[in-house]
Symmetry: C2
Subunit: 460 residues, 2 copies
């Protein structure tokens, strides 16, 4: 039996304790965006440090102005080095009433067909995915006493909150962290049977706007129509974000956005993406975005503007005839190709300011800024990772685009000069950021096996 | 000393216990719109019944499908009868953090100039105003053993929640309740020195709309622009409510809205309303409504559409890249002259439905419907009430319009055929429906004296 076969066999026979470890991590309420859960973020970091030390890593939780960053090294092997990145923080779990159970009390759901899913906030994004890599390392160390290649691990706690602390940390620890290739497990399979390596990611620019009008809430009977209503001002601004064809109407927004290169268009066409099924799975049927674009283009290669949250005035039960003093919205832009998040932010703010009447004031707050990214799929590490995935899943891995942002991917390229293999085992129906998030037990198990194979392949 | 003089003197020397009674009523959290406070509404009604019985009224709390209605009678006197109407329910007190103190723990604020204000939710709207009438009755009974005229009192608990239970109650109790004149204390003075009788009131039509898109919240990175975002749909609908001149853009909205009659325009012009001060008092300076209309027209004689509340998606601290499944808004229309609230509701719903894309659904909920109302200022009771107010305040009372809705006024006219004298002692800066609501101690004291005089005058 080869080392790899022994490692795979070890993974198969030790799935139960691996799950117990994942459950322990999922129980920690590491919601990074809400200051109330800061101590849970510290607890998550400490749990990971302790677990990685148990495997044999030299590990520590590094303090930052925000949540701690876990760094671990095992440089016992020779060969090309890898830096694995993941994040231990999770999205808020609200609305809690839509969860079948406590989002931080993970459970296994067994379906009629025998398949099983791990359900909890963070099960897929990203604790479950992170632990596939950690468990692969554990198996290699348990079976052979060492890893196939030198491995560093970096697990941050501010991925879900547009954290500003990772980029300076990467820069100030460039020597310690730089490796020959980056590995990230925070993406999806193409479908439940087809592994995928994501080679394009959209960037992100997040903004919050707060419209202030009167100095206090007013009675709409006494002041209605005479007094500026910030709900109206906000609605007009938000409605103006898109034109009648679904294009973002902010001037210069599409600068740096080319048409999709022909080679990618051809490859993506061959994926036979089923837009009806994609939308149908969430109860929709009509693509809402830019007229004349395919759904795959919309979510992989076109920029977007989405209102993630908005609110003003009375939202409780019943009715209150009030003109609020304040209304606010959170808006995120997904960026592609060469769009500059800072230019977008500036153009958006000008767009908003031009629509705020004389009597109102606007405040802005920024939440993250990252460019889109594309990797050179012809580089050797990409081929090796693809081979390893093909061996595990019995079919070739596909190179895909992706809608979400993983800002660190850009930072790794920018600050450390590293290309990154984005290989993840999440599925489209994992409900990440939503109630009843899940990770397939198969994703967890075969994801662990996949990383064991990738580590082996990268050594050659 | 005449009876009236003795009564006025009694009121002056018994202000302290009158205040204690008002404070007891203000401590009851009778928020009618929120089911959580249903038992507080019952407690308010019971408190009033007990207090009115103490004065000598035959009083009881009548059950309804909603909150109870207090009815009291004292028909010991001869002469034309009066029905006084008020409401014991109050608006929600949120945002609580903007209150200087607990909104349901009333306190007296003494200012540098020696003037004093009663602060609490409901201090002005309407518990303080209701108690001016109750205390006037108490003084008459204490001093003379009877009231100057037969008096019935009706105090409901659903005025702030568009309650549907009063109209059928009025109809089914028409014989018991009908009187020669209605009296309502739920309006403002023209200014702190000038009493006013309101002879025009706007009507109200309240609507809530809920936009549903995907069956669950989605990740905006994965679904952004492809999936319908109900925040966008809602913003577009709300932005379309007004045209670029501030006119409501719903078809047929202005049917039944004539230009202001010349006689009223002349009288209103003579009031020398200070629009700059009106807006300046709440930190504003630019009238937001229909271009070409005065602020007084906007708030007294023009219809409005106001977004009282709206919300969708993530509104907590930080950022969440979500596309919500649902977004909603509460909209109220103030109606004037002959606008039909039911026609407005229907036109609004058509307007909304026409703007909901194929992939979304809309739900509607209605909150109240009342027409605007105008009283015949030449009827004798109006002149008598005006004389009584002039005697108390040392200057003529002015006949004014008003922005708020008091649906019962219309119901009294419609169901019982009664005209209503709307004489209130609230001031424009009472912050009703807002944090730190207050009622001037002077309003409470001289309001009580005013009702004592009006009761006396109506007997002649």
């Amino acid at each position: 039996m080869s080392d790899l076969e022994a490692v795979i066999s070890y993974i198969d026979s030790h799935l139960e304790p691996a799950l117990e470890r994942l459950f322990a991590l999922l129980r920690i309420r590491s919601i990074s965006t809400d200051p109330e859960f800061a101590s849970d973020c510290v607890a998550s970091a400490n749990w990971l440090v302790s677990d990685l030390k148990g495997i044999g890593f030299e590990a520590s939780a590094r303090t930052t102005p925000g949540h701690p960053i876990v760094v671990a090294h095992d440089h016992g092997a020779a060969g090309p080095s890898a830096l694995f990145y993941g994040h231990y923080d999770v999205q808020p779990a609200d609305p809690l009433e839509l969860w079948e159970r406590d989002p931080f009390d993970p459970w296994i759901e067994t379906r009629a067909d025998g398949s099983r899913a791990i359900r909890a906030r963070g099960a897929s994004d990203d604790k479950g995915q992170v632990m596939t890599f950690v468990e692969a390392c554990r198996a290699w160390k348990a079976v052979t006493g060492k890893l196939p290649i030198p491995v560093s691990i970096l697990i941050e706690g501010e991925e879900e909150s547009g954290g500003v602390n990772l980029p300076p940390f990467l820069k100030s620890h460039a020597k310690e962290l730089t490796a020959d290739i980056g590995l990230i497990c925070d993406t999806n399979m193409w479908d439940p049977a087809t592994p995928a390596i994501q080679t394009m990611l959209r960037g992100l620019c997040g903004e919050e706007i707060v419209i202030h009008a009167a100095e206090r809430d007013l009675h709409s009977g006494f002041y209605g129509s005479a007094a500026a209503n910030p709900n109206h001002v906000l609605a007009r601004i938000l409605a103006a974000l898109h034109d009648e064809n679904g294009r973002v109407a902010i001037p210069h927004f599409y600068e740096g956005v080319p048409e999709l290169p022909e080679v990618l268009r051809t490859q993506w066409d061959s994926l036979h993406f089923d837009a009806a099924q994609f939308l149908g799975a969430v109860g929709l049927s009509v693509p809402a975005g830019e007229r004349g674009r395919s759904v795959l283009e919309m979510v992989w290669s076109r920029p977007t503007a989405e209102i993630n949250g908005m609110g003003g005035g009375y939202q409780g039960a019943g009715f209150k005839t009030v003109i609020p003093a304040v209304a606010s919205a959170k808006i995120s832009f997904r960026l592609v190709f060469d769009q500059d998040p800072h230019a977008i932010r500036s153009a958006f703010r000008d767009f908003v300011k031009a629509r705020v009447p004389a009597d109102c004031k606007v405040e802005f707050a920024e939440y993250g800024a990252s460019r889109a990214i594309r990797f050179p799929i012809e580089a050797p590490a990409f081929g090796r990772a693809r081979d390893a995935l093909a061996a595990e899943w019995g079919r070739p891995a596909v190179f895909i685009g992706g809608g979400g942002s993983i800002p660190v991917t850009h930072e790794l390229k920018q600050a450390l000069g590293m290309d990154v293999v984005l290989a993840g085992f999440a599925l489209d129906d994992d409900r990440i950021h939503s109630p009843n998030e899940k990770y397939e037990l198969e994703s967890f198990h075969r994801g662990t096996r996949s990383w064991a194979r990738i580590l082996n392949e990268l050594a050659h």
